[in-house]
Amino acid sequence: MGTRVNWFYFAAPSRCYRLAQRLQPWLLAAALVLAAWGLYWGLWLAPTDAQQGEVYRIVFVHVPAAWMSMVIYLAMAGWAAVGLVWRSRLSHMMAQALAPTGALMTFVALWTGALWGQPTWGTWWVWDARLTSELLLLFLYLGYMALHASIEDVDRADRAASLLAIVGAINVPVIYFSVVWWNTLHQGASIGPSGSSMAEPMLRALLVMVAAAWCYTLAAVLARLRVILLKRERHTAWATRVLQAQETNA
């Protein structure tokens, strides 16, 4: 008979803070190493594309950013649901920590998509399903952040924003598929980054970049979570100790 796992061990803010503090440098280092490796592979080693030439290499930044933007939103909605069901403040704080990074990833995906589109297809913007859904996802992130920032009472803000995140999450696939439908109807807009099959070495470099993006995201989100924890729990004993220690170091 083994020991029972206490799933709620890290639900205490002080323990969560220390865990985040310990993980962060490793995650950041992993992100840098993986990004260096992935970029070396993708930018230098991978062969020139037959149709797009060298410009396709933007995909090594565009695709990881786009994937992360969607994964982060799902994670955000997941933590929001946990926060609403188990009434745990920390879950809401995690969702709050995820949002800005998610918005940034969405922004990067949109910008790099435009920079890819212009030399490849001749237009800065194309209303294909993925870019359009990315744009709407950016608005969903901004809406979440704006709602949370506008409500004075932090608990109400947490729960309201979490409710919004869940409603938004259910809508994201609906939005995506409706735009896919819209595109198949209006054939003119169907040129764009389609799901083309990638050659083997390119795919491997892409996966490394995606792993780098994961590590970076976790590092940034944990860093933000620490800031949120300190700010919200400022009055508690553990937070005062941490802040005092940082002040003497600073």
């Binding site: 608005f139 901004l142 709602l147 009472d153 409710l163 409603v167 409706s178 735009v179 439908w181 819209w182």
Partner: protein, 238 residues
């Protein structure tokens, strides 16, 4: 007789009284909206003005207007509903009626469904009724008009319920109206794509679009009232 007094007259026990409670919500909402009929009419006029503005801005070329017409009418309808959203919960929240609904023994999602349906119908059905008139400046034929109106009616539940969730979330929040736009408009994209996109398409495509919208409407009616109720509870208790 204020809305809250009407609400206080509801009986408190039994299944039959639950139905009566819903009827009370409906009556109270209609009453309060009748008293604010000027605001309602303003929203309808806003719709008309927006729809009239577009041809002036893009030029009178009939083919262009025919292609744009459904889209413009849909966007104007969404914007007009958006404009009326803040008033759906504001008064009841301020005079305590909403709190009474939350505290009542009746299932809050059901009460909210009736309230939202009333507000939504008052905001949108007149716009649907105005569509035949608007078909003339945009040169929409009878068939296109039919598809447009059917789409608007099918989109009414989703639009009202999504709008209601957002309106309840921003109750008492500063700059709530602007925030409301940011929250609601991205979520209305599937409706716009399906509703406006159905016009002018062959029959099978139209059926597909309208079936999808009907499915979304059913899902919304089943799932979203819970979200509206949660948001209202947050506003009342938070």
């Amino acid at each position: 007789m204020t809305a809250s007094v009407v609400w206080a007259g509801a009986p408190t026990r039994g299944a039959r009284s639950a139905w009566r409670a819903l009827a009370v919500v409906w009556r109270a909402t209609m009453l309060s909206q009748w008293r604010q009929r000027a605001d309602l009419a303003a929203a309808w006029c806003f719709f008309l003005v927006v729809v009239a503005l577009f041809p002036l801005a893009v030029g009178p070329e009939p083919q262009l207007l025919q292609r744009m017409g459904p889209g413009v009418i849909w966007v104007a309808a969404v914007l007009a509903t958006l404009g009326s959203l803040p008033r759906w919960f504001q008064d009841d929240w301020q005079d305590g009626t909403l709190e009474q609904m939350v505290l009542s023994p009746y299932p809050l999602p059901l009460l909210m469904l009736v309230k939202v349906a009333t507000h939504g119908a008052l905001a949108l059905l007149p716009l649907v009724a105005l569509c035949p008139v608007l078909a003339l400046p945009y040169g929409l034929g009878a068939e296109a008009l039919g598809v447009l109106m059917a789409g608007l009616v099918l989109g009414l539940p989703v639009l009202s319920l999504l709008g209601a969730v957002a309106a309840a979330l921003v109750l008492g929040v500063r700059s709530g109206a602007v925030l409301l736009a940011l929250l609601v408009l991205p979520l209305t994209v599937p409706l716009l794509v399906l509703g406006a996109g159905a016009v002018g398409q062959p029959a099978e495509v139209v059926t597909a679009h309208l079936s999808l919208m009907a499915a979304m409407a059913l899902l919304a009616v089943v799932g979203l009232p819970w979200a509206v109720a949660s948001a209202v509870r947050l506003a009342v208790e938070g």
